[in-house]
Amino acid sequence: MNKLIIHKMLLEEIRLNTSFASGKGFYAFPILVVLAGLLAVLFSDEIINDMGYSAFLESCHISILFYGVFTGFLAFFGNDFLERIFGYLGLIIGLPSTQPISQRRMTMLYFIKEIIFYSIFTLVPALIGALIGAYSIGLDLINVTKFGLSLFLSFTTGLSFAYLTSSLYRISLPFAISGGLLLILTYGFLFRNFQITPGLDWYLNGYIEMLFIAMIVPILISIIATIFVHENYEPKVMQKIGYKDRLAEYTKKFEWAKWMSVPVIVSKERIDLQRSQTGTKMFFSFAFPLGILTFMNWFIDKGLPIQIDFNTIFYGVMIGFFGTMLYSWLNTIDSPNFYSTLPVTVSEVIRARLVLFLTITWWIPLLFMALIAYMSSEMNLLPIGIVVMIAVGIYIVNYTAWTTGLRTNSALFDAIIFIKFFFVSVPPMIAMTILSLAINHKPSVILIALATICGFLSLMSIFFYNKIETRWKTEAFD
């Protein structure tokens, strides 16, 4: 029966993905991953020359470990978001509520399904790409396969971390935080004299017992996670009473925005944002990638022979880019289905959310910018950083709104949309990053160049904004 359930879960996962991305887009994703694997191997010599051999391998394992954690969290917490966007969503993992099968068993099978699904759609294609690359430049294919296996083991370790944390979270939040910390500390302590993951240690040193440990660690963590799965989990339901009627008040406040959208829609979206407490979630979702960015900054400083100081302008570029996340959060608060009963267009709702992005959530990136400038003692660069952040933010958010509408997260699963997004976002970011790093060499020239790019991005923002109407006016909310 386990085999049957896993098979059905895999079918469900594929159908779920193809239902919110186009089938072509979804199946094109592994091809994209094959290309990424191929390029990673083709350019590995240059990267190793820059970073050093062990630092390169380490960064691969850290990335795949985080990838495992990320996909795990997406799997175990993502359904809540999907329900908010699409309304009711019944998944096989929810069967124990009506069928005589334990939640423990079902969650364990779900975890196994995750490993299989991500292996088939990302890890195996990456390995195929890497093997093609290795063959073309004459690398040892067995060695590359061995490295692929070590990466797979690190991936399962990351996934099992997420599994355990989510099991503990269903008991209580403090349990999840303390359990997660304990897990990290225990892991750090046990492997303090080894490589960052046992899989990497096995690959580098060849000790068979490390391969054994690399396999045992995710199995052990997932067994503990399964034991902690709560059989009778009841999701917390917000039952607050006493909300004041704010619609009329906010509608008046947003009267000025009627050239962009309908004030009462902006007001409704504003109330959604406030009552769902999404602002707090937005804040913490900013902290996470910025933490990774700071870690990368530290890592590159450590790995590269030359000193690179990412300054406040660089962070302005990055924080502006993270504006996509804010817009995406605005799309996860509530299902837009009710609008389909009213004389309202999808484009009006998109523009209402853009008004909120510009007026209500601006404090989050600004706060991070100010904090980073202060911590780096670069308050003099803060005004330029803010201008850059605003230009990049408005550019990327308008593009996201135009291409993904009210379904940002699911649309970005579509490989075709994702590739376009990549090509629109990455070149200006690279240009601005390079300029930001060179600011101390020829400040006046760099400032003119930055101003030119900001001006260009602003013009493109207007172009994208105007496109929203034609792209989404006649679309259905369903």
Binding site: G87, Y88, V237, M238, Q239, K240, I241, G242, Y243, K244, D245, R246, L247, A248, T251, V262, V264, I265, S267, K268, I271, D272, Q274, R275, S276, I333, D334, S335, N337, F338, S340, T341, L342, P343, V344, T345, T474, A476, F477, D478
Partner: protein, 233 residues
């Protein structure tokens, strides 16, 4: 005078033909029922007629407007209760009604009256997310009825309502039709259709299989359930 008319209306979802060449006319002042088993195409037809989705083929006119060309114009003139009770999660029932009348620019909206009618006064200060399904359905009905339109499209409006509210809604709808309004009712609760409708169509596998006036059906000493069984089984 026809308030709803459609010709050769079809809708295809990938490989599934949900509607297959539907022709239909509904007259002003009619209480019209669209009946059919699950998956027959009732909701798809209602969604096309209300401009929520587009048809693959065919034409539809509602209150003299081409639905495909003027979806917003149609929505302005009609009230809709969709199949799923999905009022905005984080608004209170009063705020939902305030939003609806603001968007529709309804003159003299009777928010208090409708809150009273659906016994929603005790729900003040609670957001729709925390209401029961029946309470959310009341919000959806109030949002459609408050719009003061002359044509209502209702998709299973009685689901989840308690018997007392069902009676109130039925009575209100009968009065609404008496005063010249038109109702297009999607349901498989045949008892309600039998009681309320002047005319009914039975749709099965995307096609209208039967279109009959309830008066004629009574003359033939048949009821809707018998006709339904005859067609569907």
């Amino acid at each position: 005078m026809s308030v709803i008319s459609c010709k050769a209306l079809s809708k295809k979802y990938d490989d599934v033909l949900a509607l297959n060449g539907v022709d239909l006319n509904v007259e002003k002042g009619e209480f019209f029922g669209l009946l059919g088993p699950n998956g027959a195409g009732k909701t798809t037809l209602l969604k096309i007629l209300t401009g929520q989705i587009g048809a693959t083929e065919g034409t539809a006119e509602v209150l003299g407007l081409d639905v495909e060309k003027d979806r917003l114009g149609v929505k302005r003139k009609i009230g809709i209760v969709p199949e799923q009770e999905s009022p905005p999660s984080f608004l209170t029932p009063r705020e939902v009604l305030e939003m609806v009348v603001a968007i529709r620019e309804t003159e003299n909206p009777e928010i208090e009256w409708w809150l009273e009618f659906f016994e929603m006064k005790p729900l003040e200060g609670r957001v729709c997310r925390n209401l029961s399904r029946g309470q959310r359905q009341k919000v959806m009905l109030a949002a459609a009825f408050i719009s003061q339109t002359e044509l209502l499209f209702l998709d299973e409006p009685f689901i989840n309502l308690d018997p007392i509210v069902q009676t109130k809604v039925r009575d209100w709808l009968v009065d609404f039709v008496k005063e010249g309004g038109t109702v297009f009712l999607n349901t498989h609760m045949l008892e309600n259709a039998q009681r309320l409708c002047d005319r009914a169509a039975i749709i099965h596998e995307g096609k209208i299989q039967s279109l009959i006036s309830l008066e004629k059906l009574n003359q033939q000493k048949m009821n809707l359930e018998e006709l339904f069984r005859e067609i569907v089984l």
